[in-house]
C-alpha cells in the first residue's frame, strides 16, 4: 500500500506534509523572501565596506571610476532591466496558461543574461590587460592614489559576486524552462517559476545599485 502511495506522491506537486496547494505555495513564497533577505544582507556587507571606504578615500574612488566605462555599464543595466521584464512576463504567461509565450519569454531572459555576461567579460578583460586588479596582482604603473588597488578589489568582489548570481540565476531559469517545456506548470501550480523569477529580479536590483556606485559616482 505504501508503495502505491509513494508512487502517487512523487507525481503530485503537493508534498505530503502540506494540507493543500495554497499552503505549499505560501510556504515557498515566504521561504524565497527570507532567502532574498539573506542575499540582501550578504551583498549589504560589501555595500557597507564600499560606503565607508568611499567616505575615507573619495579621490581614490574618483580615479578608479574613470576606468569604468559608463556606456558599458548603462548598456548592461538596460540589458538586465529588459531581462527582468521578460522574466516577469514569463511568470505572467505561466499564470495564464500561455505556455509557448512563457517559454519564449524565459529563453529571452536567459539570452539577455548571456549578453550581460559577454559585456562584463569585455570590461573585465580590459582591466586585466591594464593590470587594474586587486593588490596582489595590480601592475598598472600610472596610478595616482596609493590605495587605488582597493577600488578594483571592491569592483571585482562586487561584480564578481553579482556575476556568480547571474550565472546561478540563468541556470535556475533554464531549469524551470525545461520543466515548463515538459508541461509541469499551469495556472494552478507555478511555484518554481515564481520563486526563480523573484531571485532573478533581486539580481537585477543589486545591479541597479552597483551601476551608479561603480560607474557614475566619481
Amino acid at each position: 500500500m505504501s508503495t502505491v502511495n509513494a508512487h502517487v506522491e512523487r507525481h503530485s506537486p503537493l508534498a505530503h506534509h502540506f494540507r493543500d496547494m495554497a499552503q505549499q505555495f505560501d510556504a515557498a513564497k515566504l521561504g524565497i523572501w527570507i532567502f532574498l533577505c539573506t542575499e540582501i544582507l550578504m551583498f549589504g556587507g560589501l555595500f557597507v565596506a564600499y560606503i565607508i571606504m568611499h567616505g575615507l578615500y573619495p579621490a581614490m574612488f574618483a580615479e578608479g571610476a574613470r576606468w569604468c566605462d559608463w556606456r558599458m555599464g548603462a548598456a548592461n543595466t538596460t540589458v538586465l532591466i529588459v531581462s527582468s521584464f521578460f522574466m516577469a512576463a514569463g511568470v505572467h504567461y505561466t499564470q495564464t496558461n500561455q505556455r509557448v509565450k512563457a517559454i519564449q519569454s524565459m529563453i529571452l531572459t536567459i539570452l539577455l543574461g548571456c549578453v550581460f555576461l559577454v559585456i562584463k567579460y569585455f570590461e573585465w578583460r580590459h582591466k586585466f590587460e591594464l593590470g587594474l586588479l586587486p593588490a596582489h596582482f595590480f601592475h598598472y604603473k600610472g596610478a595616482h592614489h596609493a590605495n587605488l588597488p582597493m577600488f578594483f578589489s571592491l569592483y571585482f568582489c562586487m561584480t564578481g559576486l553579482h556575476g556568480i548570481h547571474v550565472v546561478v540565476g540563468m541556470c535556475l531559469i533554464a531549469w524551470v524552462t525545461i520543466r515548463s517545456i515538459r508541461g509541469e506548470f499551469n495556472s494552478e501550480y507555478y511555484t518554481a517559476v515564481e520563486t526563480v523569477g523573484l531571485f532573478w529580479h533581486l539580481v537585477d536590483i543589486i545591479w541597479i545599485f552597483l551601476f551608479p556606485l561603480l560607474y557614475l559616482v566619481g
Binding site: D26, S84, H92, Q95, P212, V217
Partner: protein, 119 residues
Amino acid sequence: MAQNKVAAEAHGHGDGHAGHHIVPMSTYVKVLFALLALTALTVAVARPVSGFDAGIFNTLIAFLIAAVKASLVLGIFMGLKYDKKLNLAIFFTGVFFLLVMLLFCLLDIYTRVHVQSTL
C-alpha cells in the same frame, strides 16, 4: 494583449485562489519604460557623463534614483505590492538591519579622535 488582460482578471477575481494576483502585461510594460527612463536620467545627471555637478548631492541623487528603480522592481515585478504583508515585512527587516550595521560602523569611523602616539 487585451485578451490576456481579460483572462488575467477573470482568474484573479475568480475563486480568490490563495492570493495569486496576476498583474496585467500592460503594467509590466509601463514599469519597463519607467525603469529605462530612470536609467537614462541617472546617466544624464552623472558628473563623468554630462559634467552636471551637484557637489556631495551627486551621490545622493544617484542613490535616490536607484532606490526608486528598485522599489518599482520590488513592487510590481516581484509583486510585493499585491503580496502578503509578511513578505514585505521580511524584506524591510533585512534592509533595516543592514542600515543598523551601516550606521553603527559610520558612527565609529566618524567619531574617532586621531591621537598622535606619545611614545
